[in-house]
Every structure is written in C-alpha cells, then in structure tokens.
Amino acid sequence: MIRATHLPLLVTLGTFVLAYALCGYAYPAMLSTRVIANLLTDNAFIGIAAVGMTFVILSGGIDLSIGSIIAFTGVFLAVILRDTSLHPLVAFAIVLALTTCFGAAMGATIHYLEMPPFIVTLAGMFLARGAAYVLSTESVPITHEFYDTLQGLYWKVDGARFRLIGGVMVLTFIAGILIAHRTRFGQNVYALGGGEQAAKLMGVPVAQTTIGIYALSGGLAGLSGIVFSLYTSAGYSLATVGVELDAIAAVVIGGTLLTGGYGFVAGTFFGILIMGLIQTYIVFDGTLSSWWTKIVIGGLLFAFILLQKGLMWATQAKAGQAKRKKATGFAAHS
C-alpha cells in the first residue's frame, strides 16, 4: 500500500517522467543518451551538495554555507596546486578534512550555544566566502596532468560520454540513501527531525548527531567543490553564489518536508534532475530567456510546498475523523 509519506516522492517521480515526456515530445533530440549524460555531468556538483542538504533539512535544520564552501574549496585547490608541488589527491584529502571540520564546528556551535542553524550557517557562509577572497580574488586556473587524466575519464555509451564527476554524484546519492536508511546515524537524523525533545527522550545522542549532520554537509560541500573544480578547471572566489538556494529548492522539490522528519535522499536526486531538465529545455528552445529558469523553479517550489501542506491537512483530517469515530464508538458501548 502507498503510505502518505511516500506520496511526495511519487509525485516528484511523476513530475520528472511527465516533464521528460513533454520535453521529448517537443524536442525528440532531448531523449538521446547524450542529453542524459550531460544532465548528470552538469548537475554533478550541485547534486553532491544537495545530498548533504537533504540530511540537514531532514534533521529540521538548514545550511546556508555550502555555496561559499564550494567556492572556498575551488580556490584552495587552485592556489595549493599553483604554489606547492603537492599531489592533487593529497590536496583533496586536506580540503575534505578542512571542510568537514568547518561543518562540525558549525554543528557544535548550533548545539552547544543553542543558536538557530539559520544564523550560525549564515555566519559560516560569510566566513567561508571571506576565506576564499583572502586566498585569491582572481580566477586561478588549474593546470595539472592529474586533473587532465581525471577529466579524460569517461564511459562511452552510443556516442554519449558519462564522465567521472557524474559517476561521483550517483555514488554519493547511493551512499546517502544507504546512510539514511541503513545506519543508526540515519535513523537518529530522522528522529531529530521529528522533534528534538522526543529524540532526546528516546536516547538519541543529540550532540553527536547534530555535529555529525553538519560535518557531513560540510564534507559533501567540500567534495562538491572538488567536483566543481574538475568541471571548470579553475578556482574562483565569486563562483557558486546562491547554490545553497538551488540545493534547498532541489530538496523540497524532491519531496522532503522543510520542517524535518519526512523525506528521501532519492527524491533529491529527481529534484536535481527536474531542475536540470528545465535548464536543458530552455537551452533547446533558444527563444526563452535564462531568467525563466528561476521563475519556473520558484513555481515548482510553490507547487510542492502546497502539495505537502495539502497532504498534512488530509492526514490530520483523517486522524481527527478516526479519533472522533473511536470516541463515538466508546460512547455507544458505554
């Protein structure tokens, strides 16, 4: 049986299939594997960041810092590869450790100082963006043979190239799904989103989980930064402004409740694909201007929020009805 909590995910899936069918009807070329491969490649960095954002939102929080962390990661990698002779893999490890610690520090501030995540991650956003400015205000190109090797990796299926970074995104999503549904940490995240007080009473380690969630989000933003630097071959401190909003939009369109507690990592994947599809359609059309992307995404966001609201009303009304029925039943017995 379909549960009410699964409905948003199903609607997201339905929207994606419908949107893709419409696109395919208008432009048959959009059905090609090449378009699918590009969809994965172009949205890889935002998808990876959105996985972290899904965990944060599932726990009832929000992380505004990821766009800045992605930019910082890119600049950091570019500067380190330009000024030192470190191997990129070592640089990757350093930057991942840095961003994970940064996320953990934000989580600790949120938990121990009892400050709203909104404000803490806002300060984190300024801090990370500022750190990127301090490293370099100019766009720094990355020229390293290891980068060329990574960028050259692809899996060819009838003319379409599935590149490495698209694969990294898919793997991140699979790992995210496993963490959310198959580990104790994942269960704790859902419990925390359902209500902190209740979670505490059930024995959920709130401090550990909160810090873990923001560390995960920071770390994934770092990974997303690495992917972004592979995608653009440069580090620029003004890049990826507003990515956090796109990630939040993807999570909501993916059927996750912004109040926390309900949602699926897999839904976010389709949320990303829907947003990518809108962009691709606009490119294919050629006459529509780029700002329609924002308006359509805003409209979709609104539609999904309404849908979630409607579902909540429906379930509440049902629960109320059942309760009343029970009460009248008892009254009849006595």
Partner: protein, 347 residues
C-alpha cells in the same frame, strides 16, 4: 511602550557596541566625526554611515515586526530588485517620478501580500513561504528589465537616492521618518502588543480574540513596502536597475541587524529602535574596514568574526552562564557575610 528609562536600558547594549564601532572608526580615521556643509549639503563620514545604511535600515523596520511574529522574510532582497526594476521601467516609459514611486510601492506591496497570504492563510512556515519569492523574485525582476541594466535620467527619481532635503541626504530622511512613524503607530496603539502576542503564542493569541490572520498579512505587507522603498533608493543611487545585484544578500544583513538589535528570532518582544541601531552597527563595521585601508579581501572574514562574537555574547547559553556565575560567584558572598555581623553589631 514603556517609560523612557526602560527604553534606554533596552538599547544600552546596542548603544555600547555602536559607540565601540564608532570609536574604532575614529582610531583608524581621526577626522571621522568632522561634518562639513558644502554646496547646500552635509558632508562627512558620519553622514555617509547614515546614508549608506539606509537600505538595510529600511528593510529592518519591516523585518523587526516580521521576526516579532516568529516569522522571517527571506524575499526582501528580491523584492528590492523587483521594485527597483518596476520604478526604472516606469520612468523609462516616460512617466513621472511620482508614478514610478507609486508603481514600485504597488509592486512591493503585492509581493508582501503574496508572502502574507502564504504565511497567514495557507499556514506555510515563513522561511519556506518567503523562499519561493526569493528564488523566483530575481527572475521576475529580470523579466521586467528584460535582462538588461535599465538606466534612467529622471531627475525626480534620482533625487530620492542622492538628493538632499535641508542639506540632509534624502535616504536618511526617509528611513528616520519611516522608522519614527512605524514605532509611533506600533507603540502608541495596541498593535505592537498584539504583534508580540502572536509571536509568543499564536494559538493562544487567536483564542484571546486577536485577528492574527489580518495582522500577519499587514506585517508582511509593511515589509514588502519597506523593501520597495529600499529598492527605489538603491536604483536611484546608481541611476539604474540591476535585477541581478540590487539588494543581493541584503535580506541577510537585515536579519543580522535585527538579531544584533537584541530581538529574538523566536518572536515576542521587539524594539525597532534597537534594530535600527543594529543596522548602523553593521554599516559602521563596513566603514571601519573601508577606512582602515585593509585589503577589501578581508571584509567578509572580519565581518563574520565580529558577528559571531556579538551572537555568542547574546546567545541564550552564554546568558545562562553569566547568570550562573553571578548567582554562584564567590565575590558577593563574603561581602554579604561581612555585612551581616556589622549590622548586628550596630544593633
């Protein structure tokens, strides 16, 4: 609401922080307080702080009330872009500046009504409801300007951004008058108390007979209007409407100003004066960084560090800690014990 001494007590922390920020300004730039009167206009760094702080100050008048109702408005930056674009396009089409201002206010008011409708009638959480307009708003603004930066040369409209009234730059006059007006209306009537009641517990305030729905819509409407004014000022200042960058991240500055003003993000008691001081604190910090000649790359890092410090000092955990230290501190006790025997001795 209360008598003057309580207001002074309420805004004392903000005044101290502002004084410290201004002191820093004087240290890095000794002539900071010097104000000249040239060509019928006041000049000086202090005037600049007041002038440049106008958009954030205007935004935080509305934002304070929204936050007092336990809400938040993320869309004000986007609304600024929309109203700036509407004002510019109206002027470019050949209408007067009055029509342009009205059109911009209408656009901002509509955006505010939309937010209010989502929050008060559809009962969507404010952070989510206003996110919709934050994402779509810049698209709408670009739709109005057709993707270009619309420039204009209408003297009347430009006067709003860079003109003067009695030697005082117009933006200062606008935010001071509007701030005073809203404070007066809210505090000389029961409105302020009703808004606080909604923020503390909406359900019980509704049971007490407050029409929370209408009041919430009005609060978001006012925020939209404030954002529209700020948008017009910013557009008039650069003589053009930039849909991509006008008001970018100003919603965050406005929220910060409200938080620095000591207003809780969880709603309830509020003070517009304190929020306005918060806006001035942010602007003074910007001014310190500019005047000190530090590389502009450090701007954001310094701002983030200062904001974190202020927030940590104001966080509830720190408040509890200070309270505990005061309550269990070793110093007051010996005094108390010493005082008692003395009293007994005199008796």
């Amino acid at each position: 609401m209360g008598p003057k001494p309580s207001l002074l007590k309420r805004i004392l922390p903000q005044l101290i922080i502002l004084a410290a920020a201004l002191l820093l300004n004087v240290i890095v730039f000794p002539d900071f307080f010097q104000i000249d009167f040239r060509n019928g206009r006041l000049f000086g760094n202090l005037i600049d702080v007041l002038n440049r702080g106008a958009p954030v100050a205007l935004l935080c008048i509305g934002m304070t009330l929204v936050i007092a109702t336990k809400g938040i408005d993320l869309s004000v930056g986007a609304v600024m872009a929309i109203s700036g674009a509407v004002a510019a396009s109206t002027v470019v089409e050949g209408h007067g500046w009055g029509t342009a201002l009205l059109a911009a206010l209408l656009a901002g008011g509509l955006c505010g009504l939309w937010n209010g409708f989502l929050v008060a009638v559809l009962r969507i959480q404010p952070i989510v409801a206003t996110l919709v307009l934050m994402v779509a708003g810049r698209g709408i603004a670009q739709l109005v300007t057709e993707g270009k930066i619309l420039t204009f040369s209408n003297e009347g409209l430009i006067q709003l951004g860079s003109g003067t009234v009695f030697g005082l730059p117009t933006p200062i006059l606008i935010w001071v008058v509007l701030g005073a007006l809203v404070t007066f209306v809210v505090r000389r009537s029961a409105l302020g108390m009703l808004i606080e009641a909604i923020g503390i517990n909406e359900r019980s305030s509704r049971l007490a007979g407050i029409n929370s729905r209408v009041l919430l819509v009005c609060v978001y409407l006012l925020t939209g209007l404030c954002a529209a004014l700020a948008g017009v000022i910013v557009a008039a200042d650069i003589k053009g409407a930039d849909a991509n960058n006008a008001g970018l991240w100003l919603e965050l500055d406005a929220i910060l100003a409200v938080v620095i003003g000591g207003n809780s993000l969880l709603g309830g008691r509020f003070s517009i004066v304190a929020s306005l001081l918060g806006a001035l604190i942010i602007q003074s910090i910007n001014s310190v960084i500019l005047l000190s000649g530090m590389p502009p790359e450090f701007n954001l890092v310094i701002k983030a560090a200062l904001i974190l410090t202020i927030l940590v000092i104001q966080s509830p955990r720190m408040g509890n800690l200070i309270y505990l230290i005061r309550a269990t501190g070793p110093q007051p006790q010996p005094e108390a014990t010493r005082a008692r025997p003395k009293k007994e001795a005199t008796q």
